[in-house]
């Protein structure tokens, strides 16, 4: 492995430099919010102020009357499908007669200035009849439907082995995960340009160009090729750009005004305008024999999907498939619900259902260890999944599953020394100077997690890439969305490696020139688009080596092996491959104030093969930051359907003073059979078990149960006060 500083040729295994790194650091990178076009006007969306309401009437007259306003559109102006959605088109472009979550789009305006557009949106008169919001996920299962399609997005039962089996030792618990936001820096923004011929070109920061395009075209009532999407500079994604946000509105406005239309969400609008991580409530019961071998895992998982379907169904499938953790579990009974409420829609976020389940199954493993009087790491070792074991879905794990090695290397990493004279800034409470050394406790927690790579359960997942060699220069065309993960670097590395050329150019990703690359999610682009680029480059190499003259061009559509949906017992070969990681967190906790400082997170991760060391480290550190955030501070605070903290003032994400040292104990390189270069995706595992490890460390420091993340200061301080009062 080579790190930065050294000269690298930029082949596989080296820390090749990002082609967009320089411009991003220098501030010259063009983000979607920087786009402009001649004659451009500005869009703005009017959003509903209630979580649940009936729309009696909408009067757009006062908005249209404002000077500078070019168009005001409502549900009546949508020429094609009135709703969109990734899996199930149930989210209205504009609320028609019913509003189902706070911030739902009701109308859109185009005007000659963003301020005029916003003022015009506010001038629209909407007569609402407020309705009682349905905000409890559990209640939603049986409540009066708040949508014609019902309140249950998905209900799944996994019956594995002998569901009546029981163990000598049984531990039980209820767990809860709050609503996390992806909190990317670059708010949603885009530019739609009408082509003068009934079609439109849309420049957007997004995660999946082709599926955006299809949803937009369906709503516009246009053939798909009349809508062309190009990727505009993305300022972070983490799942929140998988769903359509402003895409349809922008194109509608552009076609109506026959002008380029630009829109940039404010931060508040961004929080209201994209999906979040599903809040979860989970009940678990673990059975083990006297030696600590798992006999059965029972789980009931309820995910709050919010108002519209988005990816609730596959998130639930993941939560249930990985509900027992990366352990050999002979028997299991898992029941999952993903339901509709009047809370904000929830969908994809890094970890995709595995994060919620991991928090619960790892808390259970600690509880079980305590009940058995076993070391928590030892208990995990005794049950660690290995190649050849089965998931609770009955599927045999055929690829690399180095769980034992991950646990051993991560738990064996030396603990950080306690600083006898710490800088007060590095104590819990940090800059606030609250810490009292005698009231601080250190705790260590351990967690292991896993999830699937790529799309599962029968989805035909593929990516398309073209490689063209001309004059010793290779050009790659692929619609994979670069959202910061580094596919751009990797595509260049792969082509350099295969073709032995120095200069590789990446064509701008778009829908006009090439087929779908699939979504930049599910830790899949290195495998899927990396695979497509490799195969196309290999085909070019073969023709070149056969003496053919340049230009040589090859296009390759890469599919992963087929999977199948789960049957009625939740059994089936639904997944292609899995990725594992272990985390050990060390925290200092102020017992009286409940403030936490995460001192260090050590990790071992299963990576198949390191293709770019620096990028792997970047994903590990960034993912841990997001995991630490969920453990101790990141939460969208809901109050009867109303979002209370739609800003970075109050939606807190870790600062440099909250970010722990990250120690990479091991990147385990056991090549994955069937994966291009043997490499696994690395983006999600750092987020899956890091939150659970931090929570475990806080439990260890305080002796409190702490069954909910984020762990809030009051959860620690008041519980600690009450427990010492009783003692």
């Amino acid at each position: 492995m080579s790190l930065t500083g050294e000269r690298v040729r930029g082949g596989l295994g080296e820390s090749a430099r990002r082609p967009d790194g320089g411009p991003k650091v220098a501030g010259s990178f063009v983000f979607s919010s920087d786009l402009t076009a001649d004659g451009m006007v500005w869009g703005s969306i009017l959003r509903a102020p209630y979580p649940h309401a009936r729309i009696r009437s909408i009067d757009i007259g006062p908005a249209l009357a404002l000077p500078g306003v070019h168009a005001v559109l409502t549900a009546a102006d949508v020429p094609g499908d009135s709703s969109y959605g990734l899996e199930h088109a149930d989210q209205p472009v504009f609320a028609d007669d019913t509003v189902r979550y706070i911030g739902e789009a009701v109308a859109a305006v185009a005007a000659d200035h963003p301020d005029t557009a916003r003022r015009a949106a506010r001038a629209i008169v909407v007569d609402y009849e407020e309705l009682e919001p349905l905000v409890e996920a559990e209640a939603a299962i049986t409540a009066e439907p708040i949508h014609p399609d019902g309140n249950v997005f998905a209900h799944l039962t996994i019956r594995h082995g002998d569901t009546t089996a029981s163990g000598d030792v049984v531990v039980e618990g209820d767990y809860e995960v709050g609503m996390q936001d992806q909190a990317f820096m670059g708010p949603e923004s885009g530019l739609a340009i009408p082509d003068g011929d009934g079609g439109v070109d849309l420049h957007m920061s997004t995660q999946w160009l082709h599926v955006d395009r299809d949803q937009v075209a369906n709503c516009l009532g246009l053939p798909h090729d009349k809508v062309r999407m190009s990727l505009a500079g993305v300022g972070g994604a983490f799942g929140a750009r998988e769903d359509v946000s402003m895409q349809v509105h922008l194109c509608l406005l552009a076609l109506h005004t026959n002008r380029p239309v630009k829109m940039v969400f404010s931060r508040e609008e961004s929080f209201l305008g994209h999906v979040h991580r599903h809040p979860a409530r989970m009940h678990y019961r673990h059975h083990a024999d006297k030696d600590g071998r798992l006999v059965k895992v029972e789980a009931r998982i309820v995910l709050d999907g919010g108002a519209y379907a988005s990816t609730s169904r596959p998130v639930l499938v993941n939560a249930c498939c990985f509900a027992a953790g990366p352990y050999a579990v002979p028997n299991a009974l898992v029941e999952g619900w993903a339901v509709r409420t009047n809370n904000p829609p929830c969908g994809a976020m890094r970890g995709f259902g595995a994060v919620q389940a991991c928090f619960a199954h790892e808390a259970q493993m600690d509880k079980l260890a305590a009940a058995l009087d076993l070391d928590p790491v030892e208990l995990r070792l005794r049950n660690a999944m290995k190649t050849g074991d089965r998931l609770v879905t009955g599927q045999v794990v055929t690829g690399a599953a180095p769980v034992e090695e991950l646990i051993r290397t991560c738990s064996g990493w030396p603990l950080p020394a306690e600083d006898p004279e710490p800088d007060p800034m590095t104590l819990p409470g940090g800059a606030g100077r609250t810490a009292d050394g005698s009231r601080l406790r250190r705790g260590v927690g351990f967690a292991v997690g896993f999830k699937n790579l790529m799309y599962s359960a029968g989805f035909d997942d593929y990516s398309t890439a073209r490689v063209r060699l001309e004059g010793g220069v290779a050009t790659v065309t692929c619609a994979a969305a670069e959202v910061g993960q580094g596919f751009v670097t990797l595509a260049e590395q792969i082509v350099r490696e295969v073709l032995g050329v120095d200069e590789v150019i990446l064509a701008p990703p778009g829908t006009a020139d090439i087929g779908s690359a699939g979504s930049t999610s599910a830790s899949r682009q290195t495998w899927m688009s990396g695979g497509a680029v490799e195969r196309a480059a290999l085909a070019v190499r073969d023709r070149r080596d056969a003496g053919e003259r340049e230009p040589i061009e090859e296009t390759y559509e890469y599919h992963h092996p087929p999977t199948s949906p789960l049957d009625e017992n939740g059994q089936g070969n639904a997944h292609v491959s899995y990725v594992f990681a272990a985390h050990r967190a060390v925290v200092d906790v102020d017992l009286d104030l409940g403030l936490v400082r995460v001192v260090e997170v050590a990790t071992s991760q299963d990576v198949g093969r390191v293709l770019n060391p620096l990028q792997v480290i970047g994903q590990v550190e960034g993912g841990i930051a997001q995991g630490v955030g969920l453990a101790v501070m990141e939460e969208i605070v809901m109050d009867r359907g109303v979002v209370r903290n739609a800003s970075f003032t109050d939606y807190l994400i870790p600062t440099a003073l909250d970010m722990p040292d990250v120690a990479i104990a091991a990147l385990v390189e056991e090549p994955e059979p069937g994966a291009p270069f043997g490499a696994k995706g690395v983006g999600e595992p750092p987020t899956i078990s890091s939150s659970a490890a931090v929570a475990a460390a806080i439990r260890a420091a305080t002796g409190l149960a702490l069954t909910r993340i984020p762990v809030r200061p009051q959860d620690i301080a008041l519980a600690h006060r009450d427990s010492t009062k009783l003692a």
């Binding site: 409470g429 800059a431 606030g432 100077r433 609250t434 104030l593 403030l595 600062t655």
Partner: protein
């Protein structure tokens, strides 16, 4: 509509600009005002910027007091000689925002905003600071607890501005503690500012984020004052510290909101007040 912006270069010009402008909004570092404007919650018709008015800059010593210009930034407060003269204010300044914010944000702006979570306010309350203003009715001087009248409400009259804040230089320890849900760059959930005046034999505790306005914990102060051995500047009775915290908590009226709960705030006040007193007088 773009507002008109006046950039006076003297206090007289500033007063004149405020008198002649229509519904003027005062701008200092802009770290509150620009956020409000960008969010669309404030739309000034005219702006008077104070940032180039020399009389409002910096600080100077005036006998037993220091006079802090309204445009004094936290970056200027947090270090140097001023930090040793008014240590609690410097400690508070170091908790505010990020270095970039502290370079721009001013003391006058914190008072002008008068947020319950304004970090300088409990310190000014503990110091019995006075706020000096100038306006159409001339110059006024108000104790800080009379200046802040409610949540984001002050005693400032139309076209009046803060010119300076006057605080005493005291002999004795000072402490500022701030609780937030992250280790930096965070809005206060609770603040406690403790000032000991060894010569005046007083103990003063200002609390923030626990009521609409900063509060003084008078009962706690009286308990501590009665318990200090003023010759050694120590409290011998070890039960006093905990009781001090409890009395401090009783003087608050916190609320439940999206940042925390009333129960936690009350508890955190007792912990912070106790720790502050222990650091200062144990």
């Amino acid at each position: 509509m773009t507002p008109s912006v006046a950039q006076p270069r003297s206090l007289d010009d500033a007063v004149e600009a405020l008198r002649t402008a229509i519904d003027p909004t005062v701008l200092a570092g802009g770290t509150d005002l620009m956020v409000a404007i960008n969010a669309g919650s404030r739309r000034p018709t005219s702006v008077v910027s104070l940032i180039r008015v020399p009389e409002l800059q910096g600080w100077h010593r005036d006998g037993d007091e220091v006079v802090l210009g309204a445009c004094l930034t936290y970056a200027e407060i947090e270090r140097g000689e001023l930090a040793s003269l008014v240590p609690a204010l410097a400690q508070a300044a170091r908790t505010i925002g990020s270095p970039q914010i502290r370079n721009a944000a001013t003391l006058g702006g914190n008072l002008g905003t008068a947020s319950p979570a304004g970090d300088s306010l409990p310190v000014l309350a503990a110091l019995d600071a006075t706020v000096e203003t100038i306006g159409p009715d001339g110059v006024r001087t108000l104790p800080v607890l009379e200046f802040v009248t409610g949540v984001k409400r002050t005693a400032l009259r139309a076209q009046e501005i803060i010119t300076a804040v006057r605080v005493p230089v005291l002999r004795g320890p000072q402490e500022f503690l701030k609780v937030g849900t992250r280790n930096a760059m965070v809005i206060s959930v609770v603040m406690a500012a403790l000032v000991i005046d060894l010569d005046g034999r007083s103990v003063r505790l200002g609390l923030g984020s626990v009521a609409p306005v900063p509060v003084r914990a008078r009962d706690a102060e009286a308990l501590a004052e009665g318990s200090v051995d003023w010759d050694t500047a120590r409290i011998g009775d070890q039960t006093v510290f905990g009781r001090f915290g409890e009395l401090a908590a009783e003087s608050t009226a916190p609320i439940d909101d999206h940042r925390s709960t009333a129960a936690y705030r009350r508890h955190a006040v007792s912990v912070c007040a106790r720790r502050a007193l222990e650091r200062a007088l144990r």
